[in-house]
């Protein structure tokens, strides 16, 4: 009964919040309308959300977000400097990162994280989902890059979504 009435509580709250932001004012009417939408949309789109998401370590998630935010800022300054220095000074390259993550959400979050952080864009996921091909704009040491991705981004995501 509960699963049918409220299949994705986190999604419901997110949708209500998005509605409030879109309306851009906090009145009781909009709050009710937002919660109503947040309740109805997951029920009508249930078939799009086959997996239920479990967040196992909220604190790790919070720390991961802070690390990510900091890395995004650093990444941007790095890439901006590389662009200003000119195309002839960069050493681009592809690296193949073996994946330990299994869940769809985990892999897509990792791919997005990689694309937003220092000089790397996730380029291709192998059909068996075992490895992710990453393009780096300035790869002088591929081993260290793979190591950084695995330790800094994949390890916390594993802890958050797939502890076992």
């Amino acid at each position: 009964m509960k699963r049918w009435l409220l299949p994705h509580p986190i999604l419901t709250l997110t949708l209500a919040l998005i509605w409030l932001l879109l309306a851009n004012r906090l009145t009781p009417g909009h709050l009710v309308l937002g919660l109503l939408l947040g309740w109805a949309i997951p029920i009508f789109t249930r078939r799009f959300w086959p997996e239920t998401v479990h967040i196992h370590r909220p604190l790790t998630l919070a720390r991961f977000m802070i690390v990510l935010l900091y890395d995004i800022l650093v990444a941007n300054v790095t890439v901006a400097l590389l662009i200003l220095r000119g195309p002839r000074r960069v050493v681009p390259g592809f690296v193949v990162v073996p994946l330990k993550l299994q869940s769809e959400l985990g892999i897509s979050l990792l791919a997005n994280t990689i694309s937003l952080t220092p000089g790397t864009v996730s380029a291709w996921l192998s059909p068996d989902r075992r490895s992710l091909v990453v393009h780096g704009i300035d790869v002088r040491n591929p081993g260290a890059l793979i190591d950084t991705i695995q330790r800094r981004y994949e390890a916390p995501l594993l802890e958050i979504f797939e502890p076992c």
């Binding site: 998005i18 932001l21 879109l22 851009n24 004012r25 995004i72 800022l73 990444a75 941007n76 890439v79 901006a80 590389l82 662009i83 200003l84 000119g86 195309p87 960069v90 681009p92 390259g93 592809f94 690296v95 193949v96 791919a111 997005n112 994280t113 990689i114 694309s115 937003l116 000089g119 864009v121 996730s122 380029a123 291709w124 192998s126 059909p127 490895s131 091909v133 393009h135 704009i137």
Partner: protein, 113 residues
């Protein structure tokens, strides 16, 4: 005064990053290196402009205005997705690159796409 300086700084930084992103797009020598400018620098630049707009309209006296957060978040979520799809398409079409893509891609990309 403090507020105005902060706003000006955010606006200038945002515009500068937007410009650098497009500069990277125009200047780099192969598709994959061009991809980095727009996905990172431009996203952060526009994000910074949106934050400036948020602060500007929140301090106008007509209540706080937070819907800029929506666009910022949306851009930060969609930019990596479109970058990934673009590079996937480029690998599929075998666009000319400065370095050869790894063997895995060349072997597997007959049908998977």
């Amino acid at each position: 005064m403090m507020l105005e300086s902060l706003l000006s700084l955010l606006i200038l930084l945002g515009a500068l990053f937007t410009f650098i992103g497009s500069l990277g797009l125009a200047r780099m020598r192969d598709f994959y290196t061009r991809l980095h400018g727009p996905t990172k620098a431009t996203t952060l630049g526009v994000g910074s402009l949106l934050i400036a707009s948020l602060i500007h309209f929140s301090t106008q006296g007509s209540g706080i205005s937070l819907h800029e957060i929506l666009v910022t978040l949306f851009l930060f979520i969609t930019a990596p997705v479109s970058a990934h799809l673009l590079s996937k398409a480029a690998l599929h079409l075998r666009v000319q690159a400065l370095v050869r893509p790894p063997l895995e891609v060349r072997d597997a990309d007959g049908d998977s796409a």
